[in-house]
């Protein structure tokens, strides 16, 4: 007589085999060379920039006929690692993700490599062995900092007098904040020893942060006549504080920032921001190109930089209607 336990085990085994078979069938359908499946894990939806980035990737995948599996990590690395593991289990053709933080990726990337699934990073870099990922599609934050410094040169033009810079930094320890600061400093050290950073503090990339920190700076460093903000949102918050202090943003205090979000462009048309170094979130098409090249075994560059431009207040009005984020 079959014992009850072995009967149950048998049922469980049958179910397990059945579901495995189902999985196998599904994977044969998608991985069989007709449609390409891309598993993408997004950081979250923490800003307008990020939303534009997500939209661009989804639209580009649709246009390129790529089957996109999208997941939102809600700013947590463990969610992202889980999503990547799911993609490995589902045997997608390519995995792509924007790392939440830069460290702690070795294990999961090795798992992807063992499953022979190529990994493409977007937007941010990781501190992991370079053999574990194929390519990075993203911005060069250090170059953005350098471009911001060169924009400031243009804004200041021939005007003489002291240049006292207040800096609103991004989230402490984040790659864009560290590298934008480094790029800006590089240009300063190389060609503008007369520029002086009088105050520097994090505004956490938010308008609220930019507004509060700038209100304090205006009290403690009234001599500041230039503001360099690591993103537009902080500059927009700072503008409100400058106005509340009875000073004129863009005139009394020159403002240079990075990103190029819609509201930033609007402020530029009003002369409140003097220049913006663009950080382009619309990297969807470049990512899909790379996915196709990688699957076709073509060689790709290790770092595919996103196409970005610089804007001065004079160009803002004509560029504004074409801004997508």
């Amino acid at each position: 007589m079959i014992s009850r336990r072995s009967f149950l085990t048998g049922v469980a085994a049958t179910v397990a085999v059945g579901s495995l078979a189902a999985c196998g069938k599904k994977n044969n359908g998608t991985g069989g060379g007709k449609t390409v499946t891309l598993g993408f894990s997004q950081v979250g939806s923490e800003s307008g920039w990020r939303s534009a980035n997500t939209t661009s990737i989804k639209d580009a995948a649709g246009a390129a006929g790529i089957n996109l599996k999208f997941s939102d990590a809600q700013q947590k690395q463990e969610n992202q690692i889980q999503a990547i593991r799911d993609y490995i289990t589902q045997k997608v053709d390519v995995i792509s993700f924007s790392p939440v933080v830069s460290s702690g990726w070795d294990t999961v990337l090795k798992e992807a490599k063992a499953a022979k699934i190529p990994v493409i990073l977007t937007d941010r870099q990781v501190d992991a062995d370079a053999s574990l990922w194929v390519s990075l599609v993203g911005s060069d934050f250090e170059a953005e900092g350098e471009r911001a410094a060169h924009l400031l040169e243009k804004v200041l033009g021939q005007s003489s007098g002291p240049v006292n810079i207040a800096v609103l930094e991004g989230t402490t320890g984040s790659a864009p904040a560290t590298q934008r600061a480094a790029g800006f400093k590089k240009v300063m050290d190389a060609s503008h020893p007369e520029w002086k950073i009088v105050a520097s503090q994090t505004g956490n990339f938010t308008r609220d942060g930019g507004k509060q920190v700038m209100a304090a700076f205006l009290q403690s460093h009234p001599e500041a006549n230039v503001l360099f903000a690591h993103n537009d949102d902080m500059a927009l918050g700072a503008i409100q504080s400058i106005q509340a202090a009875g000073r004129k943003p863009g005139t009394d205090i020159k403002i240079v920032s990075i990103d190029g979000v819609h509201d930033g462009f609007v402020a530029m048309t009003q002369g409140q921001i003097n220049a913006i170094a663009e950080c382009n979130p619309l990297l969807g098409p470049q990512l899909m190109d790379t996915v196709k090249k990688v699957l076709a075994k073509q060689s790709v560059e290790k770092w595919i930089k996103t196409q970005e431009s610089d804007f001065l207040a004079a160009d803002a009005a004509s560029a504004l209607p074409n801004r997508k984020y």
């Binding site: 979250g44 923490e46 997500t54 105050a199 994090t202 308008r207 209100a215």
Partner: protein
């Protein structure tokens, strides 16, 4: 001043929070000589003290609601999410109006946001009081889900509004920050309702022992629901102040981590987390201390990497000074009469007795 009246003063529950606040303000003077100066710019008051009030009033509001919840022995982690939802609703409503400057549009937006805040508070209250879920878990649900709801409302984008009437809430009224009027009204109103009627006593009795209060005839469940609704309403108002001040709704960052600041403000103000007692005046001072600390970090130029460490160090010192037990031990070697090593009779819960007016 005689020794006894000095003792009575230092025994007053608000003495230490007030002293710390004044000390923190004075600490800024060597770094920013004009720190305490208040001038007029663009027809409104201007200065560091005014900035502290403008940016600190939302925290005062949130901490006020949190005090009542903590007095019942509960906690509300969802205040930041409620702030985000309230701001998101108001701004997305206004941004859809043909004339953003219409007063009726602003009023409708405010009413909409506050009604939804009330509902969210009722949800928290029902979960805690009726379903018997632990407050920290019950409100964690809304803390996580609420931000998602706010993101759905804004579509993931920052919604900017250009509504003059709406911006008054976080702006200036009769040269003063409007937030000051709102905060004063809220604090005085709450003081009157809790200390001039039996309500405060009932809240404290629920916090002391909900079951015993119920058996004694107090409608404990109803009181519990009431404090969560009040707390969410305060958070909703704070959300309006914050989004109006910035003229936008940022679902991801509005009120982010404010629940922690609010709990800290309540504790610094002398309300024990165990419930059963509360001090509204202490909470207001606690919130002002935290906002002044933030401003201090920005003005004295603490490097970004050291912000948290500096803040934590000050908060620990503040909490230690606040503890009568610690003060007793620290000053024991310098006092005559009392033998060191054997502390005098301990007061329950280790906090000075409140001396606010009782019914």
């Amino acid at each position: 001043m005689s020794l006894t009246s000095w003792r009575r003063l230092t025994r007053h529950q608000l003495f230490w929070p007030a002293t710390i606040l004044v000390a923190l303000l004075l600490f800024n003077l060597p770094f920013t000589p004009g720190f305490l100066a208040v001038g007029v710019r663009n027809g409104h008051l201007y200065g560091s003290l005014v900035s502290i009030l403008v940016f600190g009033t939302p925290l005062i509001l949130v901490a006020l609601g949190m005090t009542m919840v903590i007095a019942t022995g509960g906690i509300d982690l969802s205040v930041g999410a409620v702030m985000a939802i309230s701001g998101a609703l108001a701004c997305s409503y206004i941004s859809r109006q043909p004339d953003q400057n219409a007063v009726t549009a602003a009023l409708t937006a405010v009413a909409l946001a506050l009604v939804v805040s009330l509902l969210l508070g009722a949800w928290n209250g029902l979960l805690v009081a009726r379903a018997g879920v632990q407050p920290i878990i019950a409100t964690l649900v809304l803390m996580v889900a609420g931000r998602g709801i706010a993101q759905l409302i804004t579509g993931g984008f920052i919604i900017t509004v250009q509504s003059r009437p709406y911006q008054t809430i976080g702006g200036y009224l009769f040269t003063l920050p409007t937030g000051v009027f709102i905060a004063v009204a809220a604090v005085v109103g709450t003081l009157a309702v809790t200390r001039r009627t039996a309500l405060g006593l009932l809240v404290e009795s629920v916090g002391g022992n909900a079951e015993a209060s119920r058996l004694a005839g107090v409608r404990a469940q109803r009181i519990t629901i009431l404090v969560y609704v009040f707390c969410a309403l305060c958070a909703g108002v704070a959300g309006l102040m914050n989004s109006s001040n910035l003229a936008n709704a940022d679902a991801n960052n509005a009120g982010l981590w404010i629940e922690l600041d609010a709990i800290l403000a309540v504790v610094i103000g002398g309300t024990p987390l165990t419930g059963g007692r509360f001090s509204l005046g202490g909470t207001v001072l606690g919130a002002l201390i935290l906002q002044t600390l933030k401003t201090t970090i920005y003005t004295i130029g603490v490097p970004s990497q050291a912000n948290m460490v500096f803040e934590a160090a000050v908060v620990i010192i503040v909490c230690l000074i606040q503890s009568p037990d610690f003060r007793r031990r620290a000053t024991a070697p310098f006092r005559g009469g009392t033998r060191t090593g054997s502390p005098p009779v301990r007061q329950p819960a280790g906090v000075d007795t409140p001396v606010e007016a009782r019914p």
